[in-house]
């Protein structure tokens, strides 16, 4: 399933880049994933891809794909528990963080995604979720940004509850067509 999603995502990216006349950013992100009020998960790691598409000033659309998961957690006297793998793909609406320009560019975003949460001993979750966050991008060149973002993920779970996590990611983006 993961391979199919990645392939579909890559095909969509290539088609979009090829068809568009406006600058398009393609970036990578990576950083820690911190569970929020989840005593059965530890801090893990996530990495992913994003595309930046200019929508209308100051809005940018970002299809994204993130792979990774939580780390293991330990409770004294009973041992450790593996963390869940967490993969999600979705779409963010970004305000700020302008494309293909130099200098500091603060941004905020809100997005929706499909989250796959999996671990031995737990029911596998494939549910929709929301995320939001803040960040700062810095355009080093008109074709290249680096950025730092904090994202809070809120994923539906059983019993009308939700599971939350924070991702703190560093990223780099290259702009085609700028």
């Amino acid at each position: 399933m993961k391979k199919i999603v990645i392939c579909a995502w890559a095909v969509m990216l290539l088609l979009t880049v090829g068809a568009s006349a406006a600058p398009i950013g393609v970036g990578v992100v990576a950083g820690p994933v911190v569970p929020i009020v989840q005593a059965d998960q530890g801090t893990g790691f996530a990495y992913g891809l994003k595309v930046r598409l200019h929508l209308a000033e100051p809005l940018i659309l970002e299809p994204n794909l993130t792979l990774g998961g939580y780390g293991e957690t330990t409770i004294a006297g009973v041992g450790t528990r593996d963390g869940s793998s967490v993969n999600h793909y979705g779409l963010d609406l970004v305000i700020g963080g302008g494309m293909a320009s130099t200098g500091p560019k603060p941004l905020m975003f809100i997005g929706g995604a499909i989250y796959n949460v999996k671990r031995d001993g737990d029911v596998t979750v494939n549910k929709s979720g929301w995320s939001f966050g803040l960040g700062l991008a810095v355009g080093l060149m008109s074709t290249f940004d680096i950025d730092l973002r904090g994202r809070v993920n809120i994923v539906a779970s059983e019993g009308s509850a939700s599971k939350k996590s924070a991702e703190i990611t560093a990223g780099a983006t290259y702009y085609f067509g700028s």
Partner: protein
């Protein structure tokens, strides 16, 4: 510029609404140590120490969330169990929802308890097997059948083995680990 500020305000309001609605639930891990004190020895011939009563309500995370439980995520164990006989046995744990009930033999417990919740753990002859939290989950069965019982916070556990008519176990450690989402 004005349009940017309006968009920013709408986005910020949406984030606050979403966050406020979702931030209150959490996932908690409750552990209850049943053994030690002990060790506890149970056998087909002497089952007087078989029943292990569990009261989750004595644990603050459970008590604080008992009326707001959204889901019981899972039940796991930490256990260290010795097979005192030469032949291998299969260790099992049965759950009984009525804590007032007690049974005098392993066979009676296995026949009468509400649910089998841990099974297929083989212990070689004269050996001690220790399973931790992570490993225990692959031996857990029937979680969906006992979620409502776990939510009450009160139940009993009965350790037994196969063959029913020829086993002797010394339990050096038994801790139950309940993971729940609530709030």
């Amino acid at each position: 510029m004005k349009r940017s500020k309006i968009i920013l305000a709408v986005a910020a309001a949406a984030v606050i609404v979403i966050a406020a609605g979702c931030i209150m639930t959490g996932t908690f891990v409750i552990t209850v140590k049943l053994v030690p004190p002990g060790p506890v020895t149970v056998s087909n011939a002497d089952y007087t120490e078989g029943r292990q009563q569990v009261d989750l309500t004595q644990e603050s995370d459970f008590a604080d969330n008992q009326d707001k439980i959204k889901d019981i995520d899972n039940i796991g164990f930490y256990a260290s169990v010795k097979n005192n006989l030469n032949d291998p046995v299969t260790f099992q744990l049965f759950l009984e929802k009525d804590t007032a009930k007690d049974w005098d033999s392993a066979q009676e417990a296995a026949d009468s308890c509400t649910a089998l919740i841990l099974t297929s753990l083989t212990i070689p002859g004269k050996k001690t097997v220790t399973i931790d939290w992570n490993e225990s989950l692959k031996y857990v069965t029937g979680l969906n059948d006992i979620k409502k019982i776990l939510e009450t916070g009160h139940f009993s556990l009965y350790p037994v083995a196969i063959p029913r008519d020829n086993f002797s176990l010394t339990i050096d450690s038994l801790v139950i680990i309940v993971t729940l989402t609530g709030g």
